[in-house]
Structures are given as C-alpha cells and as structure tokens.
Symmetry: C2
Subunit: 313 residues, 2 copies
C-alpha cells in the first residue's frame, strides 16, 4: 500500500457522493445551528460556550505516516502537536488532552514510545494528558482530542477587504523533508515533518493584534488560504516574492507543501501586528499578501490553482 | 481473526510488562498530580476545573464489534452512547461530542449509516456532535470524545462502610444476546448489546441522593464492582438473591457479562435514593449489597472471583 506521512487530515474541497471525506461534510449539513457565540464544524476548533474550544485529529498508520520514516516517539509528539495547533489557530490556550489509541500486538515498546512523545509534547506546551482509552487494533491509530479556551476565538470567517495576510514562519520544510525521504535521501529538515511546533504564543499575539481570520497551515498555503477567502468572502492577492521559504525548501514546496503548522492570519493593522509579536517575544510574522473585496486567490499575476497535487492514494 | 463485540475497552487488572493495556496504566504513573478538585486518569471521566468532564472511548472493528452482527447505524449510536454513559457515571450532563473516524474504502453507505446512528444518539441525549476528523483506514475505527459538566462529580473512591450498593436496572441482557449470536441463534435481547442507553437521569438522581461512589457497568458487575471497592478502600457484600437479572438472561450473565451500561453506586441512605429516583421519574434502583469496613468483594458466602472469563483474543 502506498503510504504518505504528509497526507492530509482534511480535504480541501468537499467531495460529493459516497466516501470517507463526505463524513464531516454530511455531519455539518445535518447539524442544527449552534447557539449564539458558538461555532461547530468548519473551523480549526469547535467553539462552545464561554470561548471553550475542542478539536480532534487522528493519525492512522499507513495513511498519515509511514512507520519506516517516523519513530513512535515522534508520532506521539505529532499526534498531540497537531491538535494544539488547532487551539493555536483560534488564538487559544490549551487546557487538557485525551487520547484514544489502537495498538497492534507484537510491537513491544510501541506503547511506551508513543507515550513518551505524547508526554513530551504535553509538558512542553502545558497541556496535560488527562485520560485515554486503549485497545488492540490491526494498525496503529491515534485520536487525540484537546480542549482549550480563547477569550476571543478567531475564526476563518472574519477577514474584510484591505487587510494584510501574514504567516508566522517559513514554509516548506516538511514538504522538503518528505521529498527527500521519498527519494531515499537523508532529510535534513525531517524535524519539521515529524515534530511540528504549535504556534500557541503566536496565535495569542495575533489575537491581541486584532487578527480577523486565522487557521493553521496543515494542508499547505495554497489549499488553506482558500478556506479564509471562502469563509470570509474576500479575494486574496499573495505576493510570491514575500513568501518565506524555509531553508532547504523550494518556493513550490513552501506554497504547495503541507504539514507546516505555521499560522496564517489576516489583520487590518500591520504595525499593531508587529508590536504585538514583539511584545510577546515571537518572531515577526511575514506579510505575504492582501485581502481584496472579492475575486479568487491570486499568486502574483496568476490564479492560485489547487496546484499542489493532493497526495491521496 | 476471532472477534467479539463484547470485548472490553478496559482491562480489570493492570497488566505489567509490554502490551497495549499498559498504555493507560503507564500514562497514569507518569502524570503529575492534578490541581485540587480535579481528577485525571482513573475514573469514568477526567474531572477538570469547575466540574467539567471529559471522556473518550474507542470502538475498533474486529475488536469491539463484529460488523456481521452490528449494523453501522448501531455502531455509530453505541460509539456515542458509551461515552455518554461515562458522563452519566459521574452524575454529569453532556455538553458536546467530537468524533474521529477511520473508514475503510469500498464500503459505500458506511459513512452515512455511522453518522445516522451518531446523530440519533446525539439528538436523543441532547449532546451535539460539534466536530470531527476523518480519514481512510484499514479497518473501521471510531473514537468519540464527550465533554460535560457535573456540579458534584461522583468518583469511584468515595464509598464508606455501612452504605448500600445499588444498580439502576436489570443486568445480563447484552451478555445473553452475545451468547445467542455466538451460537448462531436469534438474539431477542440484541438491542441491549447494540443500543446501550446512557443512564444520565439516573446518574444525576443518584448524585442528588448523596451517592458516594459510582461507575457504569461496562465490563460487568463482577469486574466493575471491584473498582469501587479498591478505589474506596471498602469491602462489598453482594446478595445473589437481589441481583436484578434481565429477562432472557441468567444470573451468571448478569454478574459476569459486560456491556450493560447500567450504573452501580453506593449511598448511605436508601430512602433518600428511592425518593430521588421517584422525583426524577426513574425506575427504582435495586439494592444489591452493602459496603463493609474492609475485605474483598463477596457474593453470598463466596468470594467473587474474577469469574467472567475475559474474552481477549
């Protein structure tokens, strides 16, 4: 079975008809409207009463990672980190995590290593792992759920025209690592692929700076930026010269590759953004484009096509 | 592969050495002490600040259910119901659920049916499904996480000597259904196995009645009652003549079988219990035994052995 550690947890476009990706779309269709102030399906986290957040992400062996490339400590770390990234993308602070794990038999040490990675991430980002459930299973499967809070949760839908689009760090390192691994070469940027760092401080700084829309770049800039454009009803002009490309990565990898877990957000006042990030002691985010009244997402003088080939089996 | 819909999500005794069941035990060992008023691993739910509850349970095809016996609508229903039962076991009220689902390809309609069951349970028990994540996977895997609140969460550890032990309904119907299915016979009580009903009103009534310890009977009375005895540091004398046996079930099935999802609790004042359940419009719980200062769990004049053979592959 062809597998790919860089496969997406989320497909950029809804898929009609039968299929696994229809599940969440159909759930969204069937849900009643949430109470005022709450947001359910459709953002990085669901927002419950009082700005409480909840997000769940799953990692399936052979779908989201190849065990040959990722050691179990890293898999554990990443399983929690990608959830914390969803909390970061709302401008939130994590509170607690639970984990459901199906473990194949006959792999001694696997449970301990996964746990070591989960605990390392939990301690590093101050989000205790407070419970869980475990079972045998035919393959390794981890589903982590994280709760958190945000005083002012930043959705994907709040961008207006004339704002600046930012990303919190250089992009493409994970895609570059994946390309090397696929070619059987040493991957100097593998840490970016296996150990994404949730940008919690950056998410809160963006919120303080008046961010109007935000998400984390899990599927790649080219795919994810459209979520902001669509949810907010704005067009976006990206400037190819201003995309921060990670060392060892190419511009196509920075735009098209996934698994960066940097945050992308819009805000009306760039000076306020820079000041808030400086106060928070965070790297200055890169201004990569502007929002316009309507239209699609453009990349220089080109429309930004889906471009990055979605690596679904 | 031998499979069994009645397999436990939790093993009654900690397993030393390598293995899937060590995972949660080891997590418990490594966790720091929670802040005052919080309880992490070791109860039906983790208790966070302000009586907020979180629980996660997973269902794995070929481990927790056989697809030949359970239709996907029921699997979806049960995946949420068993989590709601954990909220009930704390005396809580559910707030929201998220679901992570790995779906095998080539099974058209599966996603829709699972979703129908999940939504049915969500609506019936007032717990909206607010988010989720989905992926392909080699087998069907569902992990549901539920949050809730309890003004006074009832743990497993609060029973004192001289209290009465109650169960909220007749036991053994799920085990009887399983026995029939295994024998290739029609199972008249299959609904008990496939559609467990979380006893949310009962859990709150027990709390109002001063319940000191509570859990849900997922692994079977013989196994689960020990959790209360151990966590509370009491002995328990069960009266075989007072165990409520479900229609179509035997006493051994009632005591040893799992998947009942009735609540078992201790309380010092039986009259107060009966009054609270009557006020709540719930079936009067059955008094099945008493707590004593110490000693093990006895069943009539016999020690209650592990008894029920744990159906692990």
């Amino acid at each position: 079975m062809a597998t790919d550690p860089n496969l997406r947890r989320e497909r950029p476009e809804p898929v009609s008809g039968e299929g696994e990706f229809a599940f969440i779309d159909r759930l969204a269709e069937r849900l009643p409207s949430p109470p005022a102030g709450q947001t359910w399906i459709g953002d990085d986290c669901a927002v419950l009463a009082d700005g409480r957040l909840i997000a769940t992400d799953l990692l399936v062996e052979g779908v989201h990672f190849r065990s040959a490339w990722a050691d179990p400590v890293d898999i554990g770390f990443k399983a929690l980190a990608v959830n914390l990234s969803d909390i970061a993308a709302m401008g939130g602070t994590p509170e607690a995590a639970v984990v459901a794990v199906a473990l194949p038999t006959g792999r001694p040490g696997l449970a301990d290593e996964l746990l070591a990675g989960l605990m390392e991430c939990a301690e590093r980002f101050g989000c205790p792992l407070v419970g869980g459930d475990t079972s045998t299973g035919p393959d390794l499967f981890l589903a982590v759920t994280v709760t958190g809070t945000a005083t002012t949760p930043v959705l994907r839908s709040g961008a207006g025209p004339g704002e600046t689009v930012f990303v919190t760090g250089p992009l493409g390192a994970a895609a570059a690592a994946l390309a090397h691994l696929e070619a059987g070469e040493p991957a100097t940027t593998a840490v970016a692929l296996h150990r994404p760092l949730p940008r919690l401080g950056e998410g809160r700084a963006a919120t303080e700076a008046g961010a109007t829309a935000m998400l984390d770049l899990s599927d790649g800039l080219a795919v994810d930026i459209r979520h902001i454009a669509k949810a907010s009803g704005v067009g976006i002009e990206l400037d190819p010269d201003r995309i921060p490309v990670a060392e060892g990565a190419t511009l196509p990898q920075a735009v098209g590759g996934g698994d960066d877990y940097e945050l992308c957000f819009t805000a009306p006042d760039p000076d306020r953004v820079r000041a808030a990030f400086e106060r928070a002691g965070r790297r200055e985010p890169s201004a990569i484009g502007v929002t316009i009244t309507d239209g699609d997402v453009t990349f220089g003088d080109q429309p930004l096509e889906g471009g990055w080939e979605h690596r679904l089996r």
